[in-house]
């Protein structure tokens, strides 16, 4: 069974589309990791309802901070993780449900380049064996053809033929990454997931690899999904970018437009946080408060609502000043952190008999946040009541109370994707709805906009 597959016949009909047509269509994709707990653990919602299209021949970037689910998304697309729900369409096939020969065809056509050049190559195998392995698995050609192909690939990624019989130990990080790329390209895939391929490399080596990836794309007509946390790299190499936060795609659109005029508050915050290698650049930095919530327990409304600097306020609270609102948000954040903290046995015992524990400092928190402030009754009452609840150790009830009294649409409803910009860009934020002000109108200016 070692017939060579005909060129162009990829096995899955949807893969043979023309450049620019939709190659992959991801719809409401969800990937959850089960918690190790036997009883009542919450799953980690790594990817939580993601939809986008990948066009043949383009480079689509996925950026976000660690834990946002970007790597899981990439791994789900190449079937390294099982999707919990949703679909990934290639033509009429759903990648998440492929099996048998179809799955094999997908595995041949979707490859990965991994992040860590130290760990992605088996260092007990020669370079030749490593690059050849995919060919062997898929019975590609005759053995002689396979070897010829490996030599060809080595040259293509900028290595020499005589590297065939060397071991990974004999190569530097950049060279190892080239080997990883050669392995991914061995089966002439249509689609390559690049999972942070340059983040472990020094900047001068990183440039070499980025150039190589772009050359290969031009030469072979590859489609890339480029996962990265480095925005400058993404801006350089990608045609379109998806910005992920807590398992959601917050904004997706053409690179230049997205970088020049970010629409989503998170994108704006992310861009403004990137230090520019230009000491004269004066940016109006928008520093985000706190850290992303746990993907095990994401907020109910908008994923970004706990940190959003331009969160919509509830109706009738216009007279409350900015810093008071900030204090309310910090208070909620503190309660959230407390409700997630486990109590040790001794603390529970102390609580039971009414002794002071480290949780009994709610009043200090409230004092610190709200004294010296002129707080309107509409805010003071809910805060006081929440503090009472928290003092009794029931942070969840306190949070519920605050949310009910002081929460807005951002806390209650998941935002829709709104079309923004001119070139089919979408952003997931309530502020794009007609009744609210646009994020750019309330926050500081970011990116190229003036």
């Amino acid at each position: 069974m070692s017939q060579q597959p005909e060129r162009g016949d990829t096995g899955l009909a949807g893969l043979d589309c023309a450049p620019g047509e939709t190659l992959l269509s991801v719809r409401d994709l969800r990937t959850y990791y089960e918690s190790g707990d036997l009883i009542g653990g919450q799953p980690v919602k790594a990817v939580d309802g993601v939809s986008f299209d990948v066009k043949k021949g383009e480079t689509i970037g996925v950026v976000g901070e660690s834990g946002c689910g970007k790597t899981t998304l990439g791994r789900t697309l190449v079937r390294l993780e099982a999707a919990t729900g949703g679909e990934v369409r290639v033509g009429s096939d759903d990648v998440t449900e492929l099996s048998g020969e179809d799955l094999k065809a997908w595995r041949r056509n979707a490859q990965v380049v991994f992040q860590d050049p130290e760990s992605s190559l088996n260092d007990r195998m020669t370079i030749g064996e490593i690059i050849r392995e995919p060919l062997d698995v898929h019975d590609w050609g005759t053995p002689a053809e396979r070897r010829a192909r490996v030599r060809d690939l080595l040259e293509k990624v900028g290595l020499q033929e005589e590297h065939y019989y060397r071991y990974p130990h004999q190569f530097s990080g950049g060279q190892r990454q080239r080997i990883g790329i050669a392995r991914a390209l061995a089966l002439e895939p249509e689609f390559v997931v690049l999972d942070e391929p340059v983040s472990a490399l020094d900047v001068s080596v990183q440039a070499q690899i980025l150039n190589l990836l772009m050359d290969l794309q031009d030469e072979l007509g590859l489609t890339y999904l480029f996962i990265a946390h480095d925005l400058s790299v993404v801006r350089h190499i990608c045609d379109r970018v998806a910005v992920m936060y807590l398992g959601n795609v917050m904004e997706l659109g053409p690179t230049d437009e997205l970088f020049e005029d970010p629409a989503n508050p998170y994108t704006r915050a992310l861009l403004s946080a990137v230090p520019e290698p230009d000491p004269t650049a004066e940016i109006d930095r928008m520093t985000l408060r706190g850290t992303p919530p746990s993907p095990r327990d994401p907020p109910e409304g908008c994923a970004f609502s706990t940190r959003c600097p331009v969160k919509i306020r509830p109706d009738g609270s216009d007279e409350v000043d900015e810093s008071t609102w900030e204090a309310v948000e910090v208070f909620r954040e503190t309660l959230r952190a407390r409700s997630r903290t486990e109590r040790s046995l001794s603390e529970r015992a102390r609580e039971l008999i009414g002794l002071e524990t480290r949780f009994a400092t709610v009043d200090e928190v409230v004092g610190e946040l709200f004294t010296d402030r002129d707080i309107p009754v509409s805010v003071k009452e809910p805060v006081d009541q929440a503090a009472d609840l928290a003092r009794e150790g029931d942070e969840d009830a306190a949070l519920e109370h605050l949310k009910g009294e002081l929460g807005s649409v951002c806390d209650h409803e998941s935002p829709e994707d709104h079309a923004v910009g001119t070139e089919g860009r979408e952003s997931r934020c309530h502020r794009h709805a007609a009744e609210y002000e646009e994020p750019s109108a309330v926050g500081p200016s970011v990116g190229g906009e003036d």
Partner: protein, 338 residues
């Protein structure tokens, strides 16, 4: 997952282990090639006696029923009676007589290595590649390689001859004790009784703990070496903490963490070794009881003792997890920081 739910989960996991461990024992005893009843009457040829033994052991019932009853009896802690070694005595009573000696022996066989081997290992780890380190490491390896029974034989001979060999009589030193007898364990709270009991068990405990001592010395050394290279030790240095504080505060507690399973694991290993040491020192403990029950074909007693050992092993495991939970705040912590 909180550390206590982690702990609860570990305890939960012990149930199938007791169950399977007991099942293995049942398989060996009842489904093995040896007929327990025949073994008990040991070829006396008396069919009547044979039948009565069969009946009282329930061997005339179908195998699955035997299994159910076997499990039921053990899980309700009805350990039955001895048939040969101490005919007619309840197993619990035998355990009550034999176990204290083994516990006394085992206790010191755990403690001595802990207080001798561990400090030596830590010392070697703090002074790596010095002469004392090499001596301690090499000594630990050789000490660990000595078979218990052989060491016991040599020690017994040396001690009985201590007068001729060193001009110092071990038996009458401090308090009068004998070397090859079980220790007297009455009224231990009286200092002289305690001393006598301690002195009587000391040679046996040293022998039984020899492997642990070598092991703990070696692993204590590597644990310290590993901890000394941790970043937080460097941080402590960077904030100006004196070396002595760094060692006593930052190194020791962290180095102890990997040692917990070693120490508890060895506590259980001692049970096996106790057979040999108890035999040489004539300490009528559990190991010796098991041994004589085995060679006298007292299979019901053997089965019950084995169940007791399984419970003991599970108990030690639980103790280990408890120690872990106390010593390492990270235990069971799966999530990310809040």
């Amino acid at each position: 997952m909180s550390r206590w739910s982690y702990f609860a989960r570990r305890v939960l996991l012990m149930i199938p282990i007791v169950f399977f461990g007991t099942t293995i024992t049942f398989l060996v005893l009842r489904m093995g090639p040896m007929d327990p009843a025949a073994a008990v009457i040991a070829g006396a040829g008396d069919t009547e006696a044979y039948e009565s033994v069969r009946q009282s052991l329930g061997l005339d019932q179908p195998l699955w029923l035997q299994y159910v009853e076997y499990l039921r009896d053990l899980f309700t802690l009805q350990l039955g009676y001895s048939w040969v070694v101490n005919r007619g005595r309840p197993v619990w009573e035998l355990i009550g007589v034999y176990a204290p000696r083994t516990i006394w022996l085992g206790f010191w066989a755990v403690m001595l290595p802990l207080f001798i081997g561990l400090p030596l290992g830590f010392y070697a780890g703090l002074n790596p590649n010095t002469l004392s380190d090499y001596l301690a490491s090499f000594g630990g390896i050789v000490w660990r390689a000595m078979p218990n029974f052989w060491l016991a034989v040599i020690l017994v001979s040396v001690l009985t001859q201590s007068d001729q060999l060193f001009g110092f009589d071990w038996e009458s030193w401090l308090v009068q004790t004998q070397i090859v007898t079980p220790p007297e364990l009455q009224r231990l709270w009286v200092p002289s009784n305690f001393l006598a009991a301690f002195k009587a068990i000391l040679p046996a405990a040293l022998v039984l703990g020899s492997a642990s001592m070598g092991n703990e010395m070696r692993i204590g050394r590597t644990a310290v070496l590993e901890t000394v290279n941790e970043n937080y030790v460097e941080t402590a240095r960077a904030k100006g903490v004196p070396r002595r504080t760094i060692i006593s505060k930052h190194v020791f507690r962290n180095a102890l963490i990997p040692l917990v399973p070693i120490i508890t694991g060895e506590a259980f290993l001692l049970l096996g070794g106790s057979v040999l040491v108890e035999t040489v020192f004539s300490i009528n403990g559990l190991g010796y009881l098991f041994y004589s029950a085995t060679i006298n074909a007292d299979l019901p007693l053997v089965g019950s003792l084995m169940f007791f050992f399984i419970l003991l092993s599970v108990g030690i495991n639980i103790l280990q997890d408890l120690l872990y939970t106390l010593i390492d705040p990270r235990v069971g912590y799966g999530g990310e920081g809040a």
